[in-house]
């Protein structure tokens, strides 16, 4: 069966390929046709290929009255910086060149003229040559401008990108009380700059690829040479190169395409919109993957413990951070186990409850029509709906929904005797706990597993919960993130890496990098805490 399926897929692929080559009219990006000498032919070609799009601006200038030579400037409206274009391209071309023309006949050879423009006239920093249509089209679509002159089979690509940008703003998904309030933005250049500004090390290397047949999205790898594990780096390169897809719109695409295991609820790639978190990751030997068009930057390898850490942990005093981290692990446990433990204890192990509590819970359940499992399921689903509604809703209505939610679930349902008050408490605590987990995607996967455990609890009590937990742990232990065991440093246990997992030792004591992530250059410095002033 499997064999047939594979064969079928292959034939379909072949068919698809032949179809794409069968359309000669449209130039697929990837052909490299050389430019023509005649300007109008070039213009014709570009117009045809871009479908005469209305945002394509072609500005034709008669540059020399004497030789009747025309020059065309191509750019995409909205992507190129028109102000700069006027000041630094059009002005020199139309005024400076005129002046030069009085002195000598510069336009007798268009190639020389073009070279002259590039070398002497244009007051712009980034100029390169364009010789083929492929580059030309890409250049235009990327927001740069292209200058073609009649009579020469090459043109100039002038870097003049400038589009509307959100700018650097406070990150919305991962907020901190203490710590930098800058977040990444949608522009990859801004983002790399934000990281560079934090690590001024020549070893911080940046490699860029374009991924996506059609979107041509810029994807940048950042890492610190010498700290990064070369094996992991090679693996990342290999996986990125293997991607064959038409479009990358968000780093989520990359994440799904390069992660180790697709069929798992657990994220094996970390993402953040905080430059400081990325910088910290780089310093530990991780690799950052930046994708143009999204403020979410990926970080690999990502281990389980990392998803429970916030960059603020390192900015607050270590004792405070330890307390908060401990709290987070407790919250993780509650958010994973809360309802299932409640179900297991109240429907299987009533002997575990102290007598007064048992009687009080039993009294609350008098008249509740559903079994505890259904009750919990009902409440959990209601809560998830409310939460999702809260995210998608226009901000202004948010308040209204939370009021309705609180009233409907919190009070009316209990008073009507549909759910018991204890269940509302359990679900509420679970819900709040799940927001304590700093990483959104980890919180989501915990939610998914919570439902599974509820099922286990409803049919096998605590035995089921224990077995479910063992199964989850087995699965997690079998995961790897770019070759690094996902559950390290818990399993395989590494005593020295415990310093920054559940607990965080004072920064002065954190002298080595995580063991499995950076293989070389393990020490971070000898930074003993400043000694106390000596006593008199």
């Amino acid at each position: 069966m499997e064999i047939i399926l594979v064969k079928f897929k292959k034939t379909i692929k072949k068919l698809l390929k032949s179809e794409s080559t069968a359309h000669p009219g449209v130039t697929k990006i990837g052909d490299t046709k050389p430019l023509k000498t005649r300007l109008h032919e070039n213009i014709q070609f570009i117009k045809e290929n871009l479908g005469n799009s209305s945002d394509l601006i072609i500005r034709e200038i008669r540059i020399s009255k004497k030789n009747n030579i025309k020059l065309a400037i191509f750019y995409t409206d909205g992507l190129a910086d028109t102000q700069s274009l006027n000041n630094f391209v059009l002005e020199p071309l139309m005024l400076e060149m005129r002046k030069m023309e009085f002195d000598q006949d510069i336009y007798s050879n268009p190639n020389v003229a073009l070279q002259l423009m590039k070398d002497e006239v244009l007051t712009v920093s980034g100029i390169t040559d364009v010789v083929d249509f492929d580059t030309l089209l890409t250049t235009i679509l990327e927001g740069d401008i292209v200058i073609l002159m009649d009579g020469s089979a090459w043109g100039l690509k002038v870097g003049m990108r400038g589009w509307e940008d959100r700018g650097v703003q406070e990150p919305s998904a991962q907020t901190v009380i203490r710590g930098p309030k800058e977040g990444f933005s949608e522009s990859i250049r801004t983002n790399t700059a934000l990281i560079r500004r934090r690590i001024k090390d020549p070893n911080l290397w940046l490699e860029t690829k374009q991924i996506g047949e059609r979107t041509k999205t810029d994807v940048a790898l950042m890492f610190i040479k010498g700290i990064v594990n070369d094996k992991v780096l090679d693996e990342v390169h290999k996986r990125l190169d293997r991607i064959n897809i038409d479009g990358i719109l968000e780093s989520g695409y990359i994440e799904e395409l390069i992660q180790d295991e697709t069929y798992t609820p657990f994220p094996t790639v970390y993402n953040t919109e905080r430059p400081d978190a990325i910088a910290a990751g780089l310093l530990e030997g991780r690799i950052a993957i930046l994708v143009d068009g999204t403020p979410f930057v990926l970080l690999v390898p990502a281990l389980f413990g990392q998803f429970l850490q916030s960059s603020e942990d390192y900015y607050q005093r270590w004792d405070i951070s330890n307390l908060i981290r401990l709290l987070r692990y407790i919250a993780l446990a509650i958010s994973l186990l809360g309802p299932s433990l409640y179900i297991a204890v109240t429907t299987f192990h009533q002997e575990m409850l102290p007598t007064p509590l048992l009687i009080s819970l039993a009294a609350q359940r008098e008249g509740v029509p559903f079994p505890a499992f259904v009750e919990a399921l009902l409440m959990e689903v209601t809560f998830e709906i409310l939460r999702e509604a809260g995210v998608r809703m226009p901000r202004a209505i948010g308040q209204a929904v939370s009021i309705v939610g609180a009233l409907v679930i919190g009070q009316a349902a209990v008073e009507a005797g549909i759910v018991s008050a204890a269940m509302v408490i359990v679900v509420a605590i679970t819900a709040i706990s799940s927001f304590v987990i700093p990483s959104f995607n980890m919180a989501i996967s915990i939610r998914i597993l919570r439902f599974g455990l509820m099922g286990f609890a409803a049919s096998f009590g605590l035995l089921g919960v224990t077995l479910g937990l063992i199964a989850i742990l087995l699965h997690m232990s079998s995961l790897r993130s770019f070759g690094v065991p996902y559950m390290s440093p818990f399993g395989p246990f590494n005593p020295s890496d415990q310093k920054d997992m559940i607990f965080r030792v004072p920064i002065g004591k954190m002298l080595t990098r995580p063991h499995l992530i950076s293989q070389k250059n393990e020490t971070r410095g000898q930074n003993e805490p400043a000694s106390k002033p000596e006593r008199e």
């Binding site: 009294a363 008098e366 049919s459």
Partner: protein, 403 residues
């Protein structure tokens, strides 16, 4: 690929098992939370009563609707198990015993059929725990005891009994909370016979069954712990009165704190609070004759002085009080021993176990006829009391009153 399919299969198998699962599931509102069980003899059969909590009445914040917080159900059967199962014909819910606080055994059963047969189920059923107390209903049936509702301070009668037993065990010492595992190990032991606390009803039992009795503040009828039941094997053989009960508890080292009242020389009484009492029982076999030695060491406080002539500031007075207290305790202990040896002829103090530990060879020889040996057993009692404090005042104001 294979991994993924395996996971699908795993999930589907587990789901299937789960769907067919849920056998042992019981929702909270399907439980009849039983807090007390009573076992009586009814002809050849067992009559089992269960005191079941009505959670809505007990836990409600708004005072409830005046219904009874507990209900008592009764059923008879050839075996205890049968009777409990038969109860389902009367109770709408499943009898749930994990929160049992109290097991009451009717006097008739205890002295007639014996308690052994009734207890097997209670030790076998994994649902039951071992932390409930066992008491014997004196001059009444267990059913009657369980039917008494009128107990102030606590909505669930069994809870009240449980707690008052715990408190009185700690502060009064004439009662002893015995749990089922202790009882059973006493039952099987040749050298230690069981001793259980008795419970008695004062007043008209009928009037205590109605919820009206809940409204009255004077509490007639009343459940009280009274005396202790001595057993020979699993049969009730007689009752120790309060003094003897105390004495017995001294021997078995179950006294934590109690009050000793001793008369003053001229008028009134003195109340001595005994605390940190510790009993050492040692035995020895010399020339084939066993001998026991009971030594009690305790601290005491002067708790109450009702006489005018006692001067607590004097050393002699304290010494005198000490020796009087020692005398009193010693008399209680001896009374208990005499009763056990002369009347009951049963070793309720576990002297046999002491001999067993000291001299296993002798024990193996005599264990089958230990009760006869016990009757003749010489027991030496030593009591050593140290009076430490005399409360927050020195001499009583009664002394100044007199002057």
């Amino acid at each position: 690929m294979i991994k993924r399919k395996f996971y699908y299969a795993l999930v589907s198998i587990i789901t299937l098992t789960m769907l067919t699962g849920c056998w042992s599931r019981t929702e909270l509102n399907e439980l009849a939370i039983t807090v007390a069980l009573g076992i009586d003899q009814s002809g050849d059969q067992f009559k089992v009563s269960a005191q079941v909590v009505n959670p809505g009445e007990v836990a409600s914040q708004k005072g409830g609707s005046g219904n009874s917080p507990v209900a008592t159900y009764t059923a008879t059967g050839e075996t205890v198990y049968e009777a409990i199962r038969k109860m389902t014909t009367k109770v709408p819910r499943k009898i749930y015993g994990a929160h049992l606080r109290l097991l009451v055994i009717g006097e008739e059963l205890a002295s007639g059929k014996g308690i052994g047969k009734a207890l097997d189920l209670l030790s076998r059923d994994p649902e039951l725990r071992t932390d409930f107390y066992i008491v014997v209903a004196k001059e009444t049936t267990a059913e009657q005891v369980l039917k008494i509702l009128s107990i102030p301070l606590e909505r669930i009668p069994a809870n009240k009994i449980f707690q008052s037993l715990e408190t009185s065990e700690k502060a009064w010492a004439a009662t002893a909370g015995v749990t089922i595992d202790e009882l059973i190990s006493d039952l099987v032991s040749k050298g230690h016979q069981p001793l259980l606390t008795g419970i008695q009803i004062f007043g008209d039992p009928k009037s205590g069954e109605s919820t009206e009795s809940l409204q009255r503040s004077s509490t007639e009828p009343v459940l009280t712990f009274a005396d202790m039941a001595a057993f020979k094997q699993d049969k009730l053989i007689g009752w120790l009165n309060e003094r003897e009960s105390k004495g017995a508890n001294y021997i078995t080292n179950k006294v934590h704190s109690t009050i000793v009242s001793i008369p003053c020389t001229r008028d009134g009484m003195l109340g001595i609070e005994v605390v940190r009492s510790k009993t050492k029982v040692s035995g020895s076999v010399k020339n084939g004759v066993p001998k026991m030695n009971v030594s009690v060491q305790a601290e005491a406080n002067v708790g109450e002085v009702e006489c005018s002539e006692v001067d607590l500031s004097k050393k002699d007075t304290i010494a005198e009080l000490e020796s009087k207290t020692e005398e009193d305790i010693k008399r209680k202990i001896e009374a208990a021993i005499t009763k056990a040896q002369a009347d009951f002829k049963t070793d309720i103090f576990g002297f046999g176990e002491v001999i067993h530990r000291e001299d296993p060879k002798y024990w193996n020889q005599y264990k089958m006829k230990w009760n006869e040996e016990f009757v003749e057993l010489p027991v030496k009692v030593d009591v050593d009391i140290k009076i430490r404090r005399s409360g927050s005042v020195g001499n009583s104001f009664l002394k100044s009153l007199k002057e």
